[in-house]
Chain length 434, copies 2
Amino acid sequence: MVNKQSIGVGLLGLGVVGGGVAGVLAGRAKALSEQVGCPLILRKVKVMESDLSRPQVKELGAQLFTTDDEEFFTQPDIDIVVEAIGGEEPALDYLKRALAGGRHVVTSNKEVIAKHGAELFTLAQEHGVGLHYEASVGGGIPLISPFQQDLVANKISGIYGIINGTTNYILTRMAGEGIDFPSALKSAQELGYAEADPKNDIEGIDSTYKLAILASLAFHLQVRPQDIHCEGISRLSSRDFKYARELGYAIKLLSIAKEKDSRIEVRVHPVFIPENSLLAEVDGVYNAILVEGDLVGKVLFYGEGAGASATSSAVVADVVSAARDIVIGSGTRANWRLEPGKSIRPMAELETGYYLRLNAADQPGVLAKVSRVLGDHRISIASVIQKAVDPVAQTAEIVIMTHPAKEAEMQKALKELDKMDVVKEIENFIRVEE
Amino acid sequence: MVNKQSIGVGLLGLGVVGGGVAGVLAGRAKALSEQVGCPLILRKVKVMESDLSRPQVKELGAQLFTTDDEEFFTQPDIDIVVEAIGGEEPALDYLKRALAGGRHVVTSNKEVIAKHGAELFTLAQEHGVGLHYEASVGGGIPLISPFQQDLVANKISGIYGIINGTTNYILTRMAGEGIDFPSALKSAQELGYAEADPKNDIEGIDSTYKLAILASLAFHLQVRPQDIHCEGISRLSSRDFKYARELGYAIKLLSIAKEKDSRIEVRVHPVFIPENSLLAEVDGVYNAILVEGDLVGKVLFYGEGAGASATSSAVVADVVSAARDIVIGSGTRANWRLEPGKSIRPMAELETGYYLRLNAADQPGVLAKVSRVLGDHRISIASVIQKAVDPVAQTAEIVIMTHPAKEAEMQKALKELDKMDVVKEIENFIRVEE
């Protein structure tokens, strides 16, 4: 036991997360001090010039704040640095500086951990300090600590996550109201659930950061965001939801990681999932992550995936955890264990079912021609819906559900279908996860 | 850092859980040793005479086993004792002996922790060792560690759990097939989901142990099983499920703990919950626990609540956690933090809605008389279903849903209703949780 009178905390950033964390540390000081064994004291907050006018600065006392990096990093008695800036730079630089200075670090920064985790964990190890990042995925839902602690006895076989609240909100609106993507996005933006520039969320990029973190932890292989096959939700239309419902499915943007024979499959894209599955029931901005382990079976974690309060819950829990480690005199814990012999499985080797929606000429023999192309690539059809849609243009919509087939073959088939005269357009193609 | 060559484990019991744990420790030795930093070695297993014929004894080597308490407790080099016997005695005695001997303890024993947790935690603290009990509630679902770690920054306001798989299986069968309790129980027994003597499960006793543990952790008050109002599921009939469905509800055995103004409400009983709520979707032997915190909002944990594998997942995770603490040289962690000024709220003060099913005379004015009794106790009716059921006996079934009312008043009203000539029988009365 280290006889500490108090534990000093330094905070980088006073935005949504930083402001929330500062509020919890100040407002809940007594309970937190009982959890830790000594007081947690916020000693310095590094902010931007524009933050200095925030009411919280006045509340907490102006002397606590600085806009100067040097002043922050030379402040004595800071044991734990909380980074709540987000984005790659200057956050990465700050994290390295804090770790190299022997400070324990708590961060909610998914992008930095996903892209630079390996380097940062090595640095933490070298300096005998902890690097905590529970808030980087799933807001306040415990997700990192289950992998580091509760599920360690398991061989994890799969992770299936709804880990982006913005896209899940948009998909929920599209499914519930039959509206198209642009209106659902507009509504999400008006409600503050989507940003003015929504690219990171709707194109799945945010999800790749989070999946990279979870998959690295679960499968003991360094998974980088660029290793993950990524497709967003912008090409989904109300017709896809209509057919999904007819066929007994929901459409969700899933982040999937699976291991088979030491090869890890990692992908983020819209999927058809059975409408009675647990993940299909996850609506609105909520997040849920289903984990499959050989001992534990299926476990699901569900909750708010973002927001100032939920994220503060995870950040402050990490601060308490780091502080307890300091009090008991323990340094870093091994929490980024890599196993040799593992590799990423190329997307071309994926085997799954597919939903295919084509706009085709409404004439006899079209379905036979389409089936032949699929058959040539060993893709067998499970069910077909064919509907005349435009009597003037004489086009029909053909919806095909396939049995599991190879992704590489499906991609070849799609190219061939695209070249066929009778196929006017491949309107969508969505993978099925049973 | 303590330079340990290996960590010794002693195991008490070789039943479902013990056998599972022994299997995982042996079968996954390499991965576990990487997690811990040195090998975890099973050094002695205390079994009953009758266990010696089990195939596992031969597999692991007969010299590892003993039927003698003295031999087990004097075995050198045991750092961690795993108790997998279950029941109150001799498990309690063994746990005390292990803790007093300076061994870290891991247990899956909900009864001992619920009844004797306070004493055992004190003993662990005195001897500088850890007492780990993740497997005591919810099988492999992380539930203890979230309260000890991930949710520490929160003020918890409520816990709502389906924490007994046997009863949830029975209720799922009753809801799905319209069968009555005795047939559903029989079927659960045939499938091994219910014991030959099912009392502990179906009367809610098992749930009170688990709720006592969760509520103590969440609300920092020692909640004992006898503090918990407990009703089982045996008085539910297929008619209750029929009406529940008509009214838009599911029936679940919920374990509920809520805090309001430092008073903790703890109860286990069947409830009507809205059919589209998350907990209503939890079917079969699965468990789910919904936790409400002021920062995190609602988080839900779902998975298999029992079974050799799932329970081993939690026990072995606790062993790894204890072993890491030994390796880093840390002793016990404060994990049973009590706050002064808290108390149990008497059941009489509960305010909730009620479902009431009466068998009454099928004659004019009966409903008016029943309403008057309820009104006298300030219980207002939200909706009524009245159906003639027996033209010969001239009886009708009256189903009443009330607005939230005081439990004490409802109990008085039930007594008065019971005495009325026109009321043949109060067939059931179930609380509603919106």
